[in-house]
Symmetry: C2
Subunit: 389 residues, 2 copies
Amino acid sequence: MKKISLLGATGSIGTSTLDVIENNPEVFSLVSFSFYKNMDLARRIIQKFQPVFVACGDVEQAAELATEFPNTSFRAGVDGLVEAAIHPEVDVVLTAVTGSIGFRPTIEAIDHGKEICLANKETLVMAGQWVMQKAKEKQVSILPVDSEHSAIFQCLQGQDKAGLRKLIITASGGSFREKKREELANVTVKEALIHPNWSMGRKITIDSSTMVNKGLEVIEAHWLFDVDYDDIEVVLHKESIVHSMVTFEDGAMLAQLGPSDMREPILYALSYPKRMKMVGEKHFSLPEIGTLHFETLDEERFPMLALAFKVGKLGGSFPTVYNAANEIAANAFLEGRIHYLDIESYITKAVESHEEIEDLQLEDIVKIDEATRTLVSSWILEKERICKR
Amino acid sequence: MKKISLLGATGSIGTSTLDVIENNPEVFSLVSFSFYKNMDLARRIIQKFQPVFVACGDVEQAAELATEFPNTSFRAGVDGLVEAAIHPEVDVVLTAVTGSIGFRPTIEAIDHGKEICLANKETLVMAGQWVMQKAKEKQVSILPVDSEHSAIFQCLQGQDKAGLRKLIITASGGSFREKKREELANVTVKEALIHPNWSMGRKITIDSSTMVNKGLEVIEAHWLFDVDYDDIEVVLHKESIVHSMVTFEDGAMLAQLGPSDMREPILYALSYPKRMKMVGEKHFSLPEIGTLHFETLDEERFPMLALAFKVGKLGGSFPTVYNAANEIAANAFLEGRIHYLDIESYITKAVESHEEIEDLQLEDIVKIDEATRTLVSSWILEKERICKR
């Protein structure tokens, strides 16, 4: 029995993970989980899975649920997240929270020797160097849950790492892939949230359209697979059937394909190195799909991807700044406070104004993350103030 | 240094293998080889690679070359093939001869503990049960060289065999894939020899067009990977970029892709489990290729594929008969002696008239192979006799 802590249980990856756990009750059990706002779903999860611990978004939720479920412990905030992750009964932590909030519980879970199934790419983007180092020291596996990274991980099994040439990450192109740059100025939140292939959370859907998500994936892949940025490519593949690919020195390419169903990489990460039967599998037939398309990605159309490679190569805290600026800007767009193309402007401005400090430590990363959020938030407020006059 | 015996050195796979050996002189050396007719090329191979032993097509060739190359031993016929394969200096035998002639040297090489790189699919079709049993007893690896089987083999590395669901072999459709059955009656040898994607030997190009080649591959895959026929599928994929695929119980699919270059699976088999750099690699870019197509294969259009599944499931000597009848019929077509669709008729007739013997032994297989050849040859002669009247 694999005992799971699920951080971000009420989101898209979270509910897919619950589905996988529910369908395999003899193999997986839910020991703890976290949620942020969705109390109704949190209640149903507690009723169904009877976890011993739940991390809540705030103290009022924790108090309310504690009266309803006397057999479960509740705690709020980041401390709750950490406690959910490092609970002594937990074997594996699946980090499905969005954004840099996933950083501290992931680090602490590694410190406590918990296996990590990583769906929270921001943790590696923020602090990949420290996270991978710590995982190595603690001999903890970090298994990818992102479909692209799971695809690469699946393709690399049993292969000669020395003969690896390139990682090729596929990109659907996101909501606005058919639009030119000049058409992007006045797009709406509603338009941005219509992803052509995947049903995902709001923030990641915005990140897909700006290609920041792919940028974060490139940086994540760099750390997960220890591959140079020059050996990572992004290819436009509109069908999202090929989840990613690798090439080798002999010219061979391996690819992982499948339906757009996050339960597959989740199940693979949880059952690894075994393969378990998917219950309620989505129908998938290549002859029925018929055609797969591949195109080069226009870097001028998607400048955030080129910027991700740039901050990745600069290293240090530059990816931290890129990610933090994006979190603030993407959320401001979702709140209707800034225009779509402002997301790019704020990220670029934050990266360009960032000065690297000497002898960077993990503690500095957390401070730089916070400072960037404060800075970008202040820029947005300032612009709102000026424009309201 | 891996010391190689190359059976069928002057054919398509043979010359590609020589290219791989020549490009990696610090890793591979050619100890022995066989050829059938091409004396000029045989001479050049001896000059370049200085093998210790050469198996010739006939005794005249052997005598002639012996005078020219005093440092090399020569011998003719099947005994020569066997001697080339089991030469004491040989580590690995790459069997690139076409047809059932590859059977005896492969069996004897396994008996002598030589590693097998198998490009001669007929050996497993004829006698898969015995060959795999013997390889297991002798702890000899049989590594696939056929691009489809190499693809599957590459996809299965590091994977949970218990979680394997299906092998999906891709088929280009061959020379006549755009033709309907009623258009096949009067096609010529010249038309049949124009393969859309691969430059191969004459017989395998015919076999591709009749889909017998894919049928042989299905049977070969059954033996190589120990997979039920019901778990093997064939999918039409006109570009020949995806060389084959596998699916797992969790719904994931892995595929191996690459240019139409037999040197890749050859190099992989010879360097396995390592990956070596391909010298003079063919350019390959998915965005440049742009589009990949997949279709179901029409069994009525290609009845030889359904027949292959049928003889495979019947087992015993039925696949032997299917293969032997095809070798005689395909060669008769190449010689202009029968019509294209007669190939199918003779194979079907041979299979339908075959009666399985009880307690089948390996010796019986060789006899049934010969008897089928004699029978189908006699049918062709008889028809020629009648039609000449």
